[in-house]
Symmetry: C2
Subunit: 206 residues, 2 copies
C-alpha cells in the first residue's frame, strides 16, 4: 500500500529514489535498471521503495514529472524576454536553454528523454534516413534552381525528423486537435516556405 511521505526522512527517501532512478538509467539503460539497483543506489532496501511507489513504472513516472516540471519552470521565467524578441532569436534562445537543461547534471535529463522518446536508437533509422536523403538528392537533380541554396542538409534533417515524429504522434492521438489533412498540408507548406525563403536569402546576398 503506497503512502505519502510525512516525516522529513521519508521525503528524503522519496527524493533519493528518484535521483537514484536517473543515475541508474544513465548507468544501466532502461532495460538494465532493476528495482534493486535503484534501491542500492539510493541506499535503502527494496521494500522501502514500495512504500512510496506502487511499482517501478511509478518511479519512472516521477522522473518524468520532474523533467516536465523543470522544462516548464525553465520556460516560464523566460517568456517575458522571449516575446519581445525577433522570432529567429526567440527560437534560438529557447533551444539553447532547452539544451542546457537537458545537459545539466551529466546529461541526466537527456539520457532519460532519449530512452523515453526513442527506443529504436539501438539500431538504425538509417535505411529510412538513407532513402529519404537519396530522394532529396534526386529531387535536387530534377530542380537545378534548388542547388544554389546551402544548408539543405540541415533543413532536410529537420523536416524529415520532425515530419516523421509529428505524423506518428498525430496518428496516435486519441483526440487530435488537427486533422491529418491539416498536418500534411502544414508540412507541405512549411517545406515550400523554407525553400522559397532560403532561395530569397541567397538572392539577396548576391
Amino acid at each position: 500500500m503506497t503512502r505519502k511521505p510525512q516525516q522529513q526522512r521519508a521525503k528524503a527517501t522519496v527524493d533519493a529514489i528518484v535521483q537514484a532512478g536517473f543515475l541508474c538509467l544513465a548507468k544501466h539503460g532502461i532495460e538494465g535498471t532493476t528495482t534493486r539497483h535503484i534501491a542500492d543506489e539510493a541506499g535503502i532496501g527494496v521494500g522501502s521503495l514500495y512504500e512510496y511507489f506502487a511499482n517501478k513504472q511509478e518511479v519512472m513516472d516521477a522522473m518524468y514529472q520532474m523533467v516536465v516540471a523543470d522544462v516548464v519552470s525553465m520556460i516560464q521565467p523566460l517568456t517575458p524576454r522571449l516575446v519581445k524578441m525577433e522570432i529567429h532569436e526567440a527560437v534560438r534562445t529557447l533551444l539553447y536553454e532547452f539544451r542546457e537543461l537537458l545537459m545539466r547534471d551529466d546529461a541526466r535529463y537527456l539520457k532519460y528523454a532519449s530512452q523515453a522518446v526513442n527506443v529504436a536508437q539501438r539500431d538504425n533509422l538509417e535505411p529510412i534516413n538513407k532513402i529519404l536523403n537519396d530522394l532529396v538528392v534526386q529531387y535536387v537533380m530534377h530542380h537545378p534552381e534548388v542547388m544554389r541554396l546551402r544548408n539543405l542538409p540541415v533543413m532536410s534533417y529537420i523536416i524529415i525528423n520532425g515530419g516523421i515524429f509529428s505524423v506518428i504522434r498525430h496518428l496516435g492521438e486519441s483526440a487530435p486537435m488537427l486533422t491529418f489533412d491539416q498536418l500534411a498540408g502544414g508540412l507541405a507548406d512549411m517545406a515550400k516556405h523554407v525553400m522559397d525563403g532560403e532561395m530569397r536569402k541567397v538572392d539577396n546576398e548576391q
Copy 2:
C-alpha cells in the same frame, strides 16, 4: 541456440512469430505482451520461438526490420514520380503514402511505431505543450502583425513537436552530421521562413 530456418515449415514459423508479434502488440501493448502470448497467437510452443530468436527483443527487432523494409520499398518506386513534382505536392504525396502504410492491416505498423517511438504517451506531454502554446499566444500578442495569419496552430504543432524530437535525437547521436548550432539556426530560420511565407500568402490573397 538460434538457427536459420531451412525447411519451408520453419520459414513459415518464423513468419508466423513476427506476424503474431504485431497482433499481440496491438492487443496487449508492449508491456502486456509475453512470449507465451506471441507463441500462442502464432500457434506454436514457446520453445520454438527461441529456436529462431535469441530473446523477445529480437522478435521486436525483426518487426522493426520489417517496418523499415516496407517503408523503404514504399518510397523507392515512388521516387521517380515525386522528383518531378512541385515540392508542396511531393511532400503531401509522400505523407499520404506514409499514412496509408502505417494504417494498413488494422494500423499494425502505426501501433508498433507509436510504442517504439514514444513511450511517454501514457500520460501527458500536456504541461509542456500547454506552456509552449501559452508562449505562442503571448508572442502573438506582442507581435500583432502575426495575428493575421491562420493555421498558426498547425505550424506551431509541427515546429514544436518536430523541434523537440530533432533536438533530443540530435543530442543523443554519437556521430552527428550537424552541429547543435546548425540545428538551432536551422530551426530558427525555418520558423522565420514559415512566418514570412504565411504572411506573404495572406497578403496575396487580399
